[in-house]
Symmetry: C2
Subunit: 378 residues, 2 copies
């Protein structure tokens, strides 16, 4: 942290190189072709000199300004290739006020142990799909993603990071109700898109899936299969998606004459699903149709169900939610409600890009429709 030394290779040779360059374009070419750019960093002025034009013209060529004369452009491009020039991003950012990267902030409730928290984040199929979708959408724009996991103990660090101008905008994955980060980010005034309807009433763009509809799809499937003793393992009830899936499921069943639907609250983990299923079947052994609010929980639940001697789907049909890779790890293969997470993350990225390009743009929300993916468990 303390030294100001150049980060790249032999910065110390720069003086010597400049001297060589001063002897003319020919010398430069010979020099560079025999030692392809590696570890040293020519400057835009040096490219300009090699091409016999001004620095401004080099800049225009690099940034694709249409006004540049074709021949000159070509000369410059040759000079760029010969010198192995690559723009310095710090210098560029300083004037453009753009970093060409965005943050993906994954905000979770407090955790006891830092390392396992991070491990869970970086290993969760849901976050994996988010990251993959956002990365894919951003790549063609040459914008990079900085992934920042956080809980409430380091919100201030995240805010500081954002304020320092490291990124042009933020994709905020936040699900629990009490999370104050969406509001803090909003107050920062930095372009942002949130992964679900924020619980506090702030004017911010977000992308969501129709959670209730998804739960209704699950209920419908179970009913149409002939299940009549229905239950559910819900997500955490302090998370809107957890609540909405439970509500949607119950609402649909109520509409069809099923009123007291047992439910056990889970925590969106495999182990949590397993424990919840065990409890549920102990208290309600008669259950023949089960909606589990995430595939990961369903994977655990399936294990418990089968341990307890029930055959799936014959004795007990199970429908999950997500259609993540976990659904394919289940035996039998999991029938589940598909949430198009990659596409949702890509949409978040697109909306964010639009906000960055036009800071005055009004916030908007985009809702995706879930679909039922029928496999073997129901």
């Amino acid at each position: 942290m303390s030294t100001g030394a150049a980060s790249f290779g032999s910065g110390g040779t720069r003086g010597r190189e400049s001297a060589l360059r001063a002897s003319g374009p020919g010398a430069i070419t010979d020099r560079m072709s025999s030692r392809p750019a590696s570890g040293r960093h020519p400057t835009m002025d040096q490219v300009a000199e090699a091409a016999g034009v001004s620095r401004a013209t080099v800049s225009r060529v690099i940034n694709g300004a249409p006004s540049v004369d074709a021949k000159i452009r070509e000369m410059v491009q040759r000079a760029i290739a010969e010198t192995g020039y690559v723009p310095n991003v710090a210098a560029r950012s300083l004037v453009t006020r753009r970093s060409n990267s965005v943050a993906l902030v994954i905000s979770e409730p407090d955790r006891p142990d830092n390392n396992s928290f991070l491990n869970r984040i970086f290993t969760d199929p849901y976050f994996g799909r988010i990251t993959a979708g956002a990365t894919t959408a951003l790549r063609p724009h040459d914008i990079h993603l900085v992934v920042i996991p956080t809980d409430s103990t380091d919100h201030h660090q995240v805010i500081r990071y954002l304020r320092q101008g490291h990124v042009d905008g933020v994709l905020l994955i936040s699900s629990h109700e009490q999370d104050t980060l969406p509001r803090q980010v909003h107050e920062l005034g930095i372009p942002a898109v949130v992964s679900a309807r924020p619980t506090s009433p702030i004017a911010v763009s977000f992308v969501d899936v129709d959670q209730r509809l998804g739960a209704r799809l699950a209920a419908e499937r179970l009913l149409s299969r002939g299940c009549r003793r229905l239950a559910t393992i819900s997500g955490p009830l302090d998370i809107p998606s957890g609540l909405d899936r439970l509500d949607g499921y119950r609402a649909y069943l109520a509409e069809h004459g099923f009123d007291a639907v047992p439910s056990v609250e889970g925590d969106f983990t495999r182990a949590g699903g397993e424990a919840a299923a065990r409890r549920l079947l102990t208290e309600h052994p008669e259950v023949d149709g089960l909606f589990v609010a995430s595939d990961l929980m369903a994977e655990g639940a399936l294990r418990a169900v089968q341990d307890l001697g029930r055959r799936v789907p014959d004795d007990l049909a199970v429908v999950g939610f997500d259609d993540s890779s976990a659904a394919l790890d289940c035996r039998p293969l999991l029938t589940t409600v598909r949430q198009p997470v990659e596409e949702m993350a890509a949409e978040m990225a697109e909306v964010l890009l639009a906000h960055i390009a036009a800071p005055g743009r009004l916030p908007r929300s985009v809702t995706f429709q879930p679909t039922l993916v029928v496999r073997d468990s129901a």
Copy 2:
């Protein structure tokens, strides 16, 4: 991309604010305390003016220079708090030539489908542990991690990114034999640490686990349990760790009189492990002890084994490798060789930091010892 507009909030009000500030420190304080810094960005000059010192002094306070007078330091800190000042990282990087971030490049073989490739990367427990370990080690240094998944089709993009000075160094996760990225990164001259001994002979620092020792531990466990019909599901044999684990296993068994040890090559995925186990048990139904070269494969293998009617560990004992979270998802719980991945990633980060701080430092390698974690499968 085309506009040079400020990325943050109401950049346009700056002129007005400066005017307000010019009316004296009192005005600034009042202004700022009623509107806590949000969306607007005071500059170091403004802090200096508010504190009645020079810009250089503010800089020294921010960077913790010891020479600053205590009273002045305090005045400056107050001014910083009142104005809500946060340094502009681009300006700082331009002069320090440091970005305070490092890249975590995850290099994998070519993949057919981009999205599923990314999904696998961001969901794999091994990469998850790497990311968690590196993040934890870097956090106290206030250095951020930019995660960059890549295959050979976009090596040039990665190289360009690195050359642009986005990061001060790179943590390179590369396992397959033919990967040319370690060499390319090495030639760039940027500080780098690789996750395993590079297959091409380049002088670069790396961190590894003693793969052969791990495999020997597994073999020893199986033998001491009384298994006498031993087999293995190996990793991909074009990956050094895959090869080394197979070799170590066979070598130990050979030393103990077991010569023809059947093996099937897997691909380090759950599905691959399942298929491999099915094949292995079909061809060698007599097997009673099995070393599976990764926990994820072991999870799949366990499923196949039990599907085929074998009881674990009584009919067939199974030892995995990694001790990732997958080991706890196995039924029975997986006995496995623990690779301390988080600690290894943290060590990679420390070594990288040392290289960044002292560019002339000689490359070195650090090897961790694996340990056997006994649970229920063997």
